[in-house]
């Protein structure tokens, strides 16, 4: 499988988009840290990059890459390689290249300018989100043969996770603010990997505020050992489930 991934990686690096992405992240991160005399503010802007841009790029890039690798996939299919292996190699190659882009583009500036627990959790979350959204992109791409539809679906999904979901949550929490919703908010935050990642970072960044009111519950839950395991577990679930579903459909598909 690693053999195949190597070729996928090679193919992606040759496409140069990934290099552009790396440079973009790097330019943004460095300029943020240089411009703001308060590095806390720079990290705040980086947080938005991690939560919004990383999922978007991961989804769109993976989708386009998937459709562009149809030839490669076809070629591999006539070779003695199982479909599961082919798709997982594609996934691994894509996710690895995207996450290394992120690690170089954001990880290095963070290590240079903001090396603490917040910085580390930021980079970790970015990597996890890359893997998760690449997996989601593979899931949607495998469903449809049409590139335009695939990209459309990816964008919709991104929009849902990045914005619409939070809007709905806000609506629900505001409407039912008279009821005890602590358990519900825990559940709601698990149903969106972006939210989960955000809370994971906030536990480091806004610890003081999170200790107030129901926030203390977050700290108690997510801040504890089981909570951290839970967070990582759910994130992994968000990564593995769409990927397994993608593999399942891919195995049943005519190509």
């Amino acid at each position: 499988m690693l053999k195949l991934s190597k070729y996928v990686l090679y193919d992606i690096v040759r496409s140069k988009v990934i290099i552009a992405y790396t440079l973009f992240l790097m330019a943004v991160s460095f300029s943020l840290f240089q411009m703001e005399d308060n590095s806390g503010k720079a990290v705040l802007s980086l947080l938005n990059i991690v939560l919004i841009v990383v999922p978007l790029i991961s989804m769109v890039f993976s989708t386009i890459h998937y459709y562009n690798s149809y030839e490669f996939i076809e070629l591999m299919l006539s070779q003695p390689v199982s479909r599961t292996k082919i798709l997982l190699s594609e996934y691994l190659g894509t996710a690895l290249s995207l996450s290394s882009s992120f690690l170089i583009g954001v990880g290095i500036p963070v290590v240079l300018f903001y090396f603490n627990s917040t910085g580390i959790s930021l980079v970790l979350t970015g990597c996890l989100l890359t893997f998760i959204f690449t997996s989601l992109a593979f899931f949607t791409s495998v469903q449809s043969r049409d590139k335009a539809r695939g990209i459309g679906a990816a964008l919709m999904l991104w929009f849902y996770f990045a914005l619409i979901y939070d809007g709905l949550v806000l609506l629900v929490l505001f409407t039912f603010s008279d009821y005890p919703l602590e358990k519900l908010t825990l559940l709601l935050s698990s149903l969106n990997p972006v939210d989960l990642g955000r809370i994971f970072i906030m536990l480091k960044m806004d610890i003081s505020a999170l200790m107030g009111y129901t926030g203390a519950m977050y700290k108690d839950f997510f801040g504890s050992g089981t909570g951290a395991l839970y967070t990582i577990g759910i994130m992994l679930l968000w990564m593995i489930t769409p990927l397994l579903l993608a593999v399942r459909s891919f195995n049943r598909k005519d190509l």
Binding site: N68, L75, S78, Q79
Partner: protein, 257 residues
């Protein structure tokens, strides 16, 4: 070698394969013919596991191909339109496939590689290649690992006459080694002399599967093309044929298994 039992495949409304059963064994060169959209490519892709049939089974050397991939080690496949990763060079593609195949005995059949002068074009980008050159790459890859079975989908379609001739010679060579060769085409003439069996598909149905001698003998025609045409005409006219449309190949089954 390959046994197909009651194969069905539907693409939405189109019945691409309708209850197809057949058996292929060593030494055969089967010409798979039929009009466009008759199901030839679907059948080949089913054998390769690229298309998943709705019903029926395919056995390779007695084993179902459903849950395995290793059997593809014994197949060289040349697709109708070879599509390759745009960013790779010819040499890299060949290297990659070599890397991925578990080619055990290690001796590669690079005859076509040199005959097609691939060694001079190694550094060409796949993106820049003409259709014909791509076909050559496909052919090289199909023969490279010296497989027991060769599946060639319209092999000479995009090739220039010279290359076509080279390929034909190569097929004859392989035939002599006793390999099973499946060739699809809608024009027969240029492969006449190679063929041992003819398989005719139309609208997903297997209409004819006979040895060439049988067909020629029964129809009295010396030219294969005409013989087939005659059989088909008769069949379409009154629904009967003087020769059985498909031979009972129980013996082959047994041999294969």
């Amino acid at each position: 070698m390959i046994t197909i039992k009651n194969l069905h495949k539907k693409f939405k409304k189109l019945h691409a394969l309708n209850d197809v059963s057949a058996s292929f064994s060593r030494g055969q060169v089967v010409s798979l013919i039929g009009p466009n959209g008759s199901g030839k490519t679907t059948l080949i892709k089913s054998i390769l596991g690229i298309v998943k049939p709705d019903a029926g089974s395919i056995l390779f050397a007695g084993k179902s191909i459903d849950k395995q991939v290793a059997y593809r080690d014994n197949i060289g496949y040349m697709p109708q339109i070879g599509r390759y990763p745009d960013n790779m060079k010819i040499g890299q593609v060949i290297e990659m496939v070599k890397n991925i195949r578990n080619h055990k005995d290690g001796t590669l059949d690079d005859e076509l590689f040199f005959d097609f002068k691939m060694d001079e074009m190694q550094d060409k980008n796949m993106r820049s290649l003409s259709g014909g050159t791509r076909q050559k790459v496909s052919a090289v890859l199909a023969f490279l690992f010296n497989p027991d079975v060769l599946i060639l989908d319209e092999p000479t379609a995009g090739l220039d006459p010279l290359a076509s001739e080279i390929l034909k010679d190569k097929i004859i060579k392989e035939k002599k080694k006793g390999k099973l060769i499946l060739i699809t085409s809608h024009v027969l003439s240029d492969l006449d002399e190679l063929t041992t069996d003819v398989m005719y598909l139309q609208d997903g149905k297997l209409h004819l599967y006979q040895t060439v001698e049988n067909i020629k003998q029964q129809t009295g025609e010396t030219r294969l093309e005409k013989a087939i045409a005659q059989v088909m005409k008769r069949y379409l006219k009154d629904g009967t044929a003087t020769i059985p449309m498909t031979e009972n190949r129980e013996a082959d089954y047994a041999k294969a298994i």
